[in-house]
C-alpha cells in the first residue's frame, strides 16, 4: 500500500482578536479585559490514509472538520506538526469556494480550475464536460452573483470533480444542492473512489457515510477521538457516554461526593 496522506501531530491555533481599533484596545486594556484568546481548532491530530481509501469525517459543528480539510489541501499551514500529501488534491471545502461574484460562470470556471492545478489545455478539453455536469445551461455567461446557492454548489463541485485529483475532499458544501444533484455527485464520487482516488467525505448522514466510506474519523473539539471502521465510528458518535452506562463517569460522581463529605 502507498501512503496518500500523513498527518502527524497536527495542531492549528486560532487567535481571536476581540478589539481592533486603537480606542477599543485602550478601553479593553484599561478595564483589564483580554485582547485576544487562543484556541486549538485542530488539536494534536495524527493519522495516515492509504491511496484509495475513502474516509468519512464526522463530528459536531465547530469540531474542526473544515479546518482539518484546509490543512490537508494546503489552504492553511499547521502551527505544530506536519501534513504530507501525495499527488494532486482537489475538493470543495467552502461554498462557492473562491468564486468571484462579479465574474461570469465561465470566467470563474477557468479561474477555479487553474487554482486547482489544471493547465490551460486540460481546462479547454474538459470545459464541456464540466458545464454539462454542472447543468447551469444559459447561466454560463451570467455573473455568479445571480446564481442560486444550488447552482453555485453544482458549478463548484463539477470543476473540482473534473480535476482528476489523487485526493478528493468533499466538505458539507454539497448539502445545499437539490436531491437529484446530490445523488449525481455521490455517484460521481463513487466512480472516482472505484478508480482509486483517496476520498474525504464530511457528512452527518450516517447511512450516506456508510455507503461511501471504508473508515471514519470522529473529531471532538479539535481532537481525533475515533479512528476506525465506519459502523464503530457511527456507534461511537451515537452512544458514547450515554446516560448512566458510563462507569468512569459514575465513578467520578462518587469521588466528587466523597470529596465533598
Amino acid at each position: 500500500m502507498v501512503e496518500s496522506l500523513v498527518v502527524d501531530h497536527v495542531t492549528k491555533d486560532f487567535t481571536l482578536h476581540y478589539h481592533r481599533t486603537l480606542k477599543q484596545i485602550a478601553v479593553a486594556t484599561a478595564r483589564g479585559l483580554p485582547l485576544k484568546e487562543q484556541f486549538q481548532a485542530v488539536n494534536d491530530v495524527s493519522f495516515t490514509v492509504e491511496q484509495g481509501e475513502s474516509v468519512g469525517l464526522m463530528g459536531l459543528n465547530g469540531s474542526g472538520k473544515s479546518t482539518l480539510l484546509k490543512l490537508i489541501n494546503g489552504v492553511m499551514t499547521p502551527d505544530h506538526g506536519t501534513v504530507r500529501t501525495r499527488g494532486r488534491i482537489a475538493g470543495l471545502i467552502a461554498t462557492g469556494a473562491g468564486f468571484q461574484p462579479q465574474m461570469t460562470g465561465r470566467d470563474n470556471l477557468f479561474l477555479n480550475g487553474a487554482i486547482l492545478g489544471m493547465t490551460e489545455t486540460e481546462l479547454k478539453n474538459k470545459f464541456d464536460a464540466i458545464v454539462d455536469f454542472a447543468d447551469i445551461g444559459k447561466f454560463l455567461d451570467t455573473p455568479v452573483s445571480h446564481y442560486s446557492s444550488g447552482m453555485f454548489a453544482r458549478l463548484g463541485f463539477s470543476i473540482a470533480i473534473h480535476v482528476d485529483a489523487d485526493i478528493f475532499l468533499a466538505d458539507e458544501v454539497l448539502a445545499v444542492g437539490d436531491r437529484p444533484f446530490k445523488k449525481k455527485c455521490l455517484a460521481k464520487m463513487q466512480e472516482i473512489r472505484q478508480q482509486g482516488t483517496t476520498i474525504f467525505y464530511v457528512s452527518h448522514a450516517a447511512a450516506s457515510v456508510r455507503a461511501m466510506c471504508d473508515r471514519v474519523l470522529v473529531l471532538e473539539a479539535g481532537r481525533l477521538n475515533f479512528d476506525g471502521p465506519v459502523d464503530d465510528g457511527i456507534r461511537y458518535l451515537q452512544y458514547d457516554d450515554e446516560d448512566g452506562d458510563d462507569p468512569a463517569f459514575e465513578g467520578l460522581m462518587d469521588a466528587e461526593l466523597g470529596a465533598d463529605i
Binding site: G59, M76, T82, Q100, M103, M189, Q194, A207, A248
Partner: protein, 340 residues
Amino acid sequence: MRAADRAARNQQQVDEATRRKNAAKQARDLLERKSDSMPVVASPDGPRQIRVVDAELVDPSPTGGVVEVFQQRYLLRLIVGRQLAQQYAASVLGLLWSYIQPALRFGVYFFVFGVILKTHQGVPNFALRLFTAMVFVHYFTETWNGGTRSIWQNSSLVLKMRVPREIFPVAAMFVSVYHTGPQVLLLLVICAIVGWHFSLAAVGAGLLGLAILVTFSMAMALFFSALNVLYRDFQNIVQTIMQFIHFLVPMMYSYSVVNDLGKSHPILYQVYMADPLAEAVLLMQKVFWAPTVSDQSLLKPMFPSNLISRGLITLGVCVVLLYLSQKFFSRLESKFPENL
C-alpha cells in the same frame, strides 16, 4: 492542601465528563436530524482499481513564494485579467482613466513648476525629463498601492483556495505594468522625435534602474500586503505617502538643487538619496532624457557623479529587502486566515 487539589481535579474531570455527555447528546440529535440530508449511493460493482500516483509525499501548502508564482503563469494571467476587468467594470471611459489621471497630473506639474516656478530654466527638454520620471514613479506607486491592498481584496481566494498568496502582490505589479506599458511606448516615441541616440552606457543605466524599480516595488508590495492584513491602517499610510512621493524625487526640480542642499545639510542629502526611487528616477532620466540633450555640458550638474556605483549598491540593498520581505510575508502568511 492536597485534598483541595484533588477536589479541584475531580471537579475538572466532572466538568469534562458533563461536557462530553452534552456533546454526545448533541451528536445524537445531529445524526438523527441529518440522517437523511445526503442520499445513499452504493458503490458500483466491480473490483477497486489501484491508482498509481507518481509523486512524493510533500507539504501540501505552497512554499515556493514568488518563485512559485512564476511557475503558475496561466493562473497569474487569469488573476491579472480579472483584476483589470474588475477595475473597469461599469466605467464608461474604462482603461482611459489610467491615462487621464497621469496626463492631468503632468499638465499641472509642468505648469506649476515649469512655467510658474521656472524650474525648467537651464534644463533642456524639461517636459521629457518630467514625463520620464512620472512614468516610472507611477509604476512604483501603483504596484505598491495595489499590492498593499491585494491580499485583503482577494480574501475569498486566500481563505478558500490553495494558491501561493504572493500571486496577488505580483498580479498587482503586472496590472501596473499593463498601465505603464503604453506610457513607456509613448515615451519612446517622444524620445525618437526629440532626437535620442543609442549608447551602451545609457542602456546599462536603464537596465539597472529597471532592476531597482522592480525589486524595490515588489519588496514594498509584499511587505505591506502582509502588514495590511493585520492592520488595515497600512493601506491608508501608503496612500498618504503617495500624496507626496512625487515631490521627493528629482523630477519637478533638478538634481543640482538637491546637490546644493547637500552642501549645507549633508545628512538630509544622504536620506534623500538613499531612497531607491530617487536613484531609479535619476537612472531612467539618464537613459531617456540625457541622450536627447545636445549640449552635454549642461548634464554635468543634473546627475550625481557616482550615479552608477550608487545604483549598484541600491540594487543590492533592494534585493536584500525583497528577500526579507518574502521572509516576512511567509511568516505572517499562516496568520492570514484568522485576520481576514
